[in-house]
Amino acid sequence: MKGQKIFCPSPVVQGLVILVFVLGCCLNAFAQGVTPPDNVEAIDTPNDDGKSITISWDKSPDDGAGAESVTGYKVLRKFPDGEFEEVAPIPTGTTLYVDEGTERGVAYSYIVQAITEGGMTADSEATIPVKPTGEWFHSGKIWIFLAVLLYSAVVVYCIYHARSGKKLFIRRIPGLEAVDEAIGRATEMGRSIMYILGLGSVSNVATIASMNILSQVAQKTADYETPLRVPCNDPIVMNVVREMVKTAYLNEGRPDAYNEENIFFLTESQFAYAAGVDGMMVREKPAAVFLQGTFFAESLILAETGNSIGAIQIAGTDKEHQLPFFIAACDYTLIGEELFAASAYLSREPMLLGSLKGQDYGKVMIFGAIVIGVILELVGITWMTTFFQQVK
């Protein structure tokens, strides 16, 4: 190569070339009238089942500013060996799109296209290929998971601590103290007891809590030979309840007193159920009515009818919207966690009582967090509030 002459244009020619290039770029931009979006990035969507990719970008400088020529965007996607295909039209001002039409394990790359009113387009650079994958753990729920784990550990500790036989102090719950009074009253008056489980299905925890209370009530009615009527709204609940009540009577040595016909299916329709139960209340005039479980708009219809016939009423529900109605119309109401504490409270089983203690410790933890949060907020420290706002 030595001695070979290299072609070198004169400065004038060089200047002309640069001028032509710059003019070309300017004319091209003028012709397109639009600048493409920048910083386009595609990532595997976090905390999903592996069927989506999230694409983000910076708005085109001509979107709402500059030439103001951008009327929208298009997201285009391509397989490793394919062509770019349109995925979705996107309105102006948007900088994020979640593509939920992807297949797991396939790599996709994306471009975002700015579009003008005249149909001209400007493509962004293509992203690097990204494969959507599913995560085993939802990292956004880590704090909830830890809180549930901590609370569960406290409850389990209290349950097993209670096995040692140490006497636990459990606060008095008037609504549950009144269960004996209600059953006794019905027995003395020679009338029946009506137990209403609400509209919840068997998968509802409040319904299970209610069935546990019913089991305790059934043991007492078996002793006193007081008729126990249970109109059911859910067929599965009816079958489980029949089995529970039958066993309760068997345990008390009174299988003869058990009458299967007293536990019956009424209807699954909300207001037809309310009408049916109201009708029975008015006709049969039970001396005691238990309303325990999940209730909706029918709560007051049932409770007021029970009140009008002079029955002693003990209510409890997990629907906080219905609690005021029960408080107004019933003699005793189990509020909040009292419904779930009932079976432990009534049975006095040490291990079940231990779980109530755990529940109380849980409340103390929440109360402590509230007090500390209020104090920190008052002195201008906001990290705790911010932290709880972010926990989802």
Partner: protein, 216 residues
């Protein structure tokens, strides 16, 4: 054995279903959906049993001529008519739809409308100002009621022009502060109760739902 198998199943499914809530993976989702589907499958079988019970109960009442036995005929008439139109012709059959719209829906609406009168009678008893608590309740209720109707603000603004829309602002303050705080307190208690109850069931400490503690 009769008790142990359900307890083991309950433990296994309880733990797995709780964990699926924290995992977005497709296997986790499909397990969750599959188990819920199983529960849905049990429903129709239980419904057959429930309808059999209904028929048995009402038939026995007619046979024994129990008190108000005539109402049991209405149950059978309603059931037979709806089955006669629903099973052979399907849910979209005009006669079936007509019966639903013009019989069941008005009856449901009638029951629901009774709620207004029951609220009035319950409120009358609850708001009798015989104790300090009842008096506070009455005061709060009056403010919320006046604040809820536009005429409350109109009258207030005409009579007391120094502070506009005080009734609706006071109502909003009551709902946003004391009311919401109390509700959230109750919800926290319910949530703790639900978790505690679930732990008792999963660990097999609470067994009443299995039909009591027979033999223990």
């Amino acid at each position: 054995m009769r008790r142990q198998v359900p307890l083991v199943l309950c433990f296994a499914f309880g733990i797995v279903m709780a964990l699926t809530e924290f995992s977005p993976h497709r296997w986790s989702k499909s397990i969750n959906e599959e188990v819920i589907d199983w529960a849905l499958v049990i429903g129709p079988f239980a419904l057959v049993l429930a309808i059999a019970t209904l028929v048995q109960t009402h038939w026995a009442r007619i046979r024994r001529r129990s008190e108000y036995w005539q109402y049991s005929f209405l149950v059978f008439i309603g059931m037979i008519v709806m089955l006669a139109f629903g099973i052979p012709f399907g849910q979209k059959n005009p006669a079936f739809t007509w019966l639903f719209r013009h019989v069941q829906v008005p009856m449901d609406a009638t029951m629901f409308s009774l709620l207004a009168f029951f609220i009035a009678s319950a409120a009358y008893r609850a708001f009798r100002a015989r104790t300090l608590e009842a008096s506070l309740l009455l005061g709060a209720a009056v403010i919320v009621m006046i604040g809820n109707v536009p005429i409350g603000d109109v009258i207030w603004n005409a009579v007391m022009p120094f502070r506009d829309n005080l009734p609706s602002d006071a109502r909003q303050w009551i709902l946003d502060n004391p009311n919401l705080s109390a509700r959230r307190g109750i919800i926290l208690g319910i949530s703790l109760g639900v978790i505690s109850q679930s732990i008792r069931i999963i660990l097999g400490i609470e067994r009443s739902y299995l039909g009591g503690v027979e033999g223990d």
